[in-house]
Every structure is written in C-alpha cells, then in structure tokens.
Symmetry: C2
Subunit: 149 residues, 2 copies
C-alpha cells in the first residue's frame, strides 16, 4: 500500500521527507507484526531480544552491561527487562563472584525451551520482506546504511 494512503497525508514536501516518514512508518509496521507474533508466548520484543543474547552466551553468563551493548536500543532499561524475565523464571540473576558490582545473568532451561518454541517466528516475519527480491533487499540495506553515514 502506498504511504500516502496509509497515513492521511496528500503530499510530501520532497522525496526526503517522504522517505523519512516511510522508514519510520514501515519500521512500526514490522515491529507491530512481530510483537503480535510473540504475544501469545508471553514475550515482548525487548524480552525476546534479551533472551536471544543470553542464549548466545549460554552456558556462560552475561552482565547487564553486556546486554546493553548488544541490544539495538542502547538506552533501554536492561535491568528492568531482566526483572520481568526473572519473574517468569526464564533467567537467573546471581551476583558475580569475581566482581560483586556485576551480576551474572543466565538463561534457564525454561528460557531455552521458550526460544525453541518461538524459533520460527522472527525468521518467518522477516520473510514478510519476500515481496522483495534478494537484490532489492540488499539494495534497501545499502540505502539505509547510506542514510546513517
């Protein structure tokens, strides 16, 4: 669907304003679909992302600092996201013995199992981009990289 119809705006000042709005709008559209897919599993997207990072470290622990570094959103409150995951017993928290400022965070077996169950969701959603050819998808990434130069 064309952007003009999605949002209620007739015209754009220029192609840059239009592209800007389109990036933001499309990102929201993608994230909303993905969040809806995870919702039945009781996971939000930030929680899912943290679990993925923890699985990547497993069986080694991660610290809050490491989570922040690895997360898309650097300014997010990793500590409180871990709170939620801990309440659901998907992760454990334990003061790091070698540095008592830090906290070792580990994914539990239940957490790993939940990731197994949701294995296909994220990939399946990325396939929503299959209306693009491989070449177009690569081109899109290049254009986006260029924006942030």
């Amino acid at each position: 669907m064309k952007l003009e119809d999605e949002i209620q705006q007739r015209a754009f000042k220029n192609v840059y304003q239009k592209a800007h709005l389109n990036v933001v709008f499309t990102a929201g559209w993608l994230q909303q679909r993905l969040a809806a897919a995870f919702k039945p599993h009781g996971l939000t997207l930030p929680q899912y992302n943290v679990l993925r990072i923890l699985r990547g470290q497993h069986p080694k622990p991660a610290t809050v600092n490491l989570l922040i570094e690895r997360m898309l959103d650097k300014t997010s409150n990793a500590s409180r996201i871990v709170d939620k995951l801990e309440a659901k017993q998907l992760v454990t928290r334990q003061i790091c013995p070698s540095n008592r400022r830090a906290v070792d965070i580990r994914i539990t077996e239940a957490g790993l199992e939940l990731l197994r169950q949701t294995e296909s969701l994220a990939d399946g959603q990325s396939q929503g981009l299959h209306n693009l050819t491989d070449e177009e998808a690569a081109q899109l990434s290049d254009l986006l990289d260029k924006i942030r130069d």
Copy 2:
C-alpha cells in the same frame, strides 16, 4: 556506518533479516535525532505531531477521533497527549456543543507560535537523508512500500 558494526552482530541469516533489522534500526536512529531536536522546545514527537494536525485544522477544531485517524500511530493515547499539551496551554479543550460526547480541541496562539519556532527542525532532519540522491530516496520509498504490500 554499516549495520554489522552498529549492532553487535557478525552475520545475518539472509538479506531479508538484515533488511528488516536495518529498517527498524534506522527508524530508531532517525526518530532519536528528531526527538533530540525538539526536546529543547519542551515537545515530544507525538506532541509535535498532534500540534501539526491541529494547525492543519485551525481555526476549525479537531476531535480526539480525528487526531487518532491522522496520527501515524493509530493505537496511541491521543487523549493523554492532549492532556500534556493542554497543561502547557498549547491547546484548548471544550465540549463540542453539537455533540456533547465529542471534544473540540484547538491549537492556541502559543501553540502556533511554538510551531513557528520549530518550523525548520523536521525539514532540517529530513535533510539528514541528503546523503541520498533524489532518485535513491524515491527508490527507498518504493522498496518500503513494496514490503508492506
């Protein structure tokens, strides 16, 4: 900067996953810059967007329903965003005489003045996309439209 370096991920499963992440990441990057530009003026992006819609209607009033229709984010809480604007005396709220369920919302002179002061901000930010040529920006929009088909 290349996406691989921005987020701490070596490889992507395929070009679709990479494009997906890139759209989301770039949108966040754009929105963050824009929000930072408005912050000194005491406006958040949702508040700014509501003010713009109200200016578009001015001197006619808008209702909450109309705001929701026009906003990028359909599920946002327009009512509470209007609360904040009203507290700052940038808008007025008045029960609609002809339909007492509805509420007439109008931008004040102070609101109009604030929009004048911030006139150049949004456009200036869209120009952050000027590392793209006109053609590339148009191409980007086309690719994004295609994703949502």
